[in-house]
């Protein structure tokens, strides 16, 4: 996946190889925003029923208000705009994204946005925002999956889509392992009604 960063056409092809249902185009670095805007601005014919765009969490330089204006432009061409809560300084600036804004729960390396207690105040300020449940991030906080269950209990009605993968020792997204698939199964079964985004290619088997 890393090798495809910024190459939107190849990302679309790679996603199509897995499923024509859903895709997430990730401009994780602000440096990738221009090319993603250009790509979506050309109005490519995308076969997917659900298109999510991931906003930047790295190399951030733009003033937040300007970033949100650009995210809103991307949101006009997508079903969802995912943001990491720990990168949001002024929640009110994001209200203009309305229901397109989707907040993702964070992993153990981050200082905020990891648990229900940390996310609920943000959702209170952004009542139209949806929830992206990253099950591997929740696992990194609590391998017993209690935190993950609490996130679904509390934010399940806001759930818009899932991020599905395992995590490497360095906290990088890797293909879902058989062990994690078993561990995650009860929670994944609670999410059959929303799109799943695989954050790493499916296992070879």
């Amino acid at each position: 996946m890393e090798a495809l960063r910024g190459d939107w056409e190849r990302q679309v092809d790679a996603a199509m190889d897995v499923s024509p249902f859903a895709i997430e185009l990730s401009a994780l670095s602000e440096d990738e925003l221009d090319s993603l805007e250009e790509y979506l601005g050309a109005q490519p014919t995308l076969p997917f029923r659900y298109v999510s765009v991931h906003g930047p969490s790295k190399a951030r330089r733009l003033p937040e208000e300007e970033l949100v204006v650009r995210l809103a432009r991307l949101g006009a061409r997508a079903d969802a705009v995912v943001m990491h809560p720990d990168t949001i300084e002024d929640p009110s600036a994001y209200r203009q994204l309305g229901h397109k804004l989707v907040l993702e729960n964070m992993d153990a390396r981050k200082a905020a946005g990891r648990t229900t207690d940390e996310l609920e105040p943000l959702f209170a300020e952004l009542p139209a925002a949806g929830f992206c449940f990253d099950i591997a991030h929740a696992w990194s906080i609590d391998p017993d999956m209690v935190v993950a269950g609490e996130l679904l209990d509390t934010l399940g009605q806001r759930l818009r889509h899932l991020h599905v993968s395992s995590l490497s020792a360095e906290s990088h997204h890797v293909p879902l392992s058989e062990e994690d698939e078993e561990l995650f199964r009860p929670l994944l079964l609670r999410c059959l009604d929303v799109p799943w985004i695989l954050e790493a290619p499916p296992r070879a088997d």
Binding site: F21, D79, A80, Q157, R158, L159, R160, H161, D193, V194
Partner: protein
Amino acid sequence: MSGSAEGALERLSEASGREFPNLLAARARTAEGLKERRAQPASSDHDDDASVVLMGSWGRSEVTSKSDDDFMVLIDGGEREDVRPSIEDVKTVLPHAPGEQGIFSAPVFCDDLVEKIGLDGDHNKNLSRRMLFLLESVPVSSEAVYLTARDRVLRGYLDESIKDFRPPRFLLNDTVRYWRTICVDFAGSRMRS
């Protein structure tokens, strides 16, 4: 789903500061009754794709001394003649099984529950069985068959209607239809009697 209901009762108790002794007693009675029934197989002759399933108060963990053993023999497949255990075999080990075949005390084929959602084939009996299976049921035998079949029914609602919002409207509409059917049938039954 009964697991969620139990959690809800505990949350309600905690939030309201009130206890619910009758519901807790019914829950204990349900657990004890299930243990007894699971210890008595209906027949040594048990199809690999069959599961004896109790419904209603059993699925809600609300069994009282007046509760019936409303059951079905669920088959994870299509309709066929011979089903093991037979209804008669199951009745020998369920002391309060209803006598007449209706919604309960019958073989139920998962293919009907999954493939006949909506339209003419989805008559009241099929709808009621499907909804009771999803909302108020618990396996007495072959839990793996029960879970596989329930997953199939849920996927029957969800696979073609995955959306990025909740609740899933197709399933919600059918749940509402089930409750409406109960109310209308109850009123209709009273009018006729």
